[in-house]
């Protein structure tokens, strides 16, 4: 459930930013994930894929790097066309 809500917030921002940048498609999303967030990367990827369906994020690649801040999840940037 925590992963689902993180993805929900992430998507809400990505879709708004994608619209702002007039993106046709978001192809890759870069996030950093701290080890104490208790967010399971596999579950996060599952919700990311599911939420992306029928949006400009459909099929987008998710790049997850370890965050130096242990309790942090950060949306760093995204690639779009």
């Amino acid at each position: 459930m925590h992963e689902m809500h993180v993805v929900k917030d992430l998507f809400s921002d990505l879709l708004a930013l994608g619209k702002e940048k007039q993106a046709r498609k978001i192809t890759k999303v870069y996030i950093t994930l701290g080890e104490w967030t208790e967010i399971n990367e596999e579950i996060l990827r599952f919700f990311f894929e599911e939420h992306g369906k029928n949006t400009i994020l459909e099929g987008a690649e998710l790049s997850v790097d370890a965050s130096p801040k242990k309790r942090e999840i950060r949306l760093v940037s995204f690639d779009c066309e």
Partner: protein
């Protein structure tokens, strides 16, 4: 052509918290304000299906570790209603005593561990150990006292054992009555000190008229266990019609349903009960309300905590009165009780539907069961007070935020947290970790 867009936004991980507040402000105007409940649904109603009506209270008491006795009481009431069984006056008296302990235990936990740190200027209960050691000791002493009374009465406070459909599997003897009376009378000076402490604290000023919903009755008793559903907007309904009050609906940002009755939202809990039934409180509780300057039809949700303190005095005094009454009349130890899953048929089983409506610490709690001719549950519905309050909390937040937009993010965060905490929501054990997310500020 592909381009990279830098964003750099941190997300709330919600590791400890189960509630998040989202505030969206644009050009100094509040666009959106919502309380997100991200706790996963727990499907207790689904778990009840196919189980015997005689084990419903043991299952539903697991809904909450704080309100285990409250769920037990609503559950046995719904079960007995479905079975057409009328509990004895002695059983009702003992159940009231149990409900009082639940109210005392829960309200004091809220007042001392969750609200007092805010008002004494510390982040949590722990720093109070150094700064207000006597207060901490008193809080723990009182909590232990009410837990001890529950231990004597129903075996244990968390997930009680002996309170079942039909009555009590073990009834208190004279020695038990003396022990409970001694504990409760011994805690009276601590209760007086609690009220003195409350009188020194300043609660935020805030007003928003809303509908207050709770049990009402036609006798002189402050209704906690028995009565019909009433509201300050004039609603009067049988408990069987509880759905006409709750009118639950789903909102996208919360895994808990919202509720509304006569207007956009309503409030349940200590303040609602006080506004509906204050004249029926114990005289000492009424005096306490006067000393804490709590007036009838108070519309400041922050003062729910003060109403809880007033109810504590009522519950303590009424508990003592019940025990003295039981000592005078004696406890009839020969009442027939249901053993196990009613295999001996002590209570005749029939198909039916029953509703339990009990005023528990956070407000009116409904349990509704439908059973088949063998006593198996075919359908269950539990409507929890915090769920009923969520919509009202959001409406309060929408009124409060524009009034404090000139303050810093930290001050707004604290004010919002205090508002949510005032309702003593079931998420309150994690409410010091409530995340406030500001957008566009």
């Amino acid at each position: 052509m592909s381009k990279n867009v830098k964003v750099n936004v941190e997300y709330l991980t919600r590791v400890e918290g189960h509630g998040n507040i989202v505030v969206n402000v644009k050009n100094g105007q509040l666009e959106e304000c919502r309380l997100e409940i991200v706790e996963a649904p727990r499907f207790f109603e689904g778990m009840l299906r196919g189980r015997s009506i005689f084990e419903a209270q043991h299952i539903t008491s697991r809904i909450c570790g704080i309100c285990a006795c409250a769920h037990t009481l609503a559950s046995v009431q719904a079960a007995e209603d479905a079975l057409g069984f009328k509990p004895s006056p002695q059983t009702i008296k003992l159940r009231k005593l149990l409900l009082h302990q639940e109210i005392l235990d829960s309200h004091l936990l809220h007042i001392y561990l969750l609200v007092a740190p805010d008002l004494l200027g510390v982040k949590s209960f722990i720093p109070l150990i150094d700064s207000h050691n006597k207060v901490v000791r008193r809080a723990l002493r009182m909590k232990k006292a009410f837990n001890d009374v529950c231990d004597i009465l129903v075996g244990r406070h968390v997930h009680p054992i002996s309170c079942i459909a039909g009555g009590f599997t073990k009834l208190p003897n004279e020695k038990d009555l003396d022990s409970m009376l001694s504990i409760l009378k011994g805690i009276q000076p601590d209760m007086d000190a609690t009220i003195d402490l409350l009188a020194t604290l300043t609660f935020p000023g805030f007003e928003r008229e809303t509908e207050y919903v709770g049990l009402v009755n036609h006798n002189g008793e402050y209704p906690l266990l028995e009565g019909e559903i009433g509201s300050t907007d004039g609603l009067r309904l049988s408990k069987k019609d509880y759905k006409k009050v709750t009118n639950e609906f789903i909102v996208g940002h919360s895994s808990a349903k919202h509720a509304k009755a006569s207007r956009e939202s309503y409030m349940v809990g200590a303040l609602a009960r006080y506004n509906l039934n204050h004249q029926k409180l114990h005289p000492k509780a009424l005096k306490t309300a006067d000393s804490l300057k709590l007036k009838p039809m108070t519309v400041n949700s922050f003062l729910n905590t003060v109403a809880q303190a007033v109810e504590c005095v009522h519950s303590l005094e009424d508990s003592i009165a019940i025990l003295e009454d039981l000592k005078k009349s004696g406890v009839d130890q020969n009442e027939a009780v249901v053993v196990g899953l009613n295999e001996k048929g002590t209570i005749p089983v029939r198909a039916g539907s029953g509703v339990g409506a009990v005023e528990v610490p956070r407000g009116i709690l409904f349990h509704h069961y439908e059973i088949d001719e063998k006593g198996k549950i075919v359908n269950a519905n539990c409507v929890i007070p915090t769920g009923q309050n969520l919509n009202n909390i959001e409406h309060d937040m929408r009124k409060l935020v524009p009034e404090i937009l000139n303050k810093t993010d930290e001050e707004i965060t604290l004010a919002m947290e205090m508002l949510v905490r005032a309702y003593d929501p079931c998420i309150s054990c994690s409410a010091h970790f409530l995340n406030v997310r500001f957008i566009g500020r």
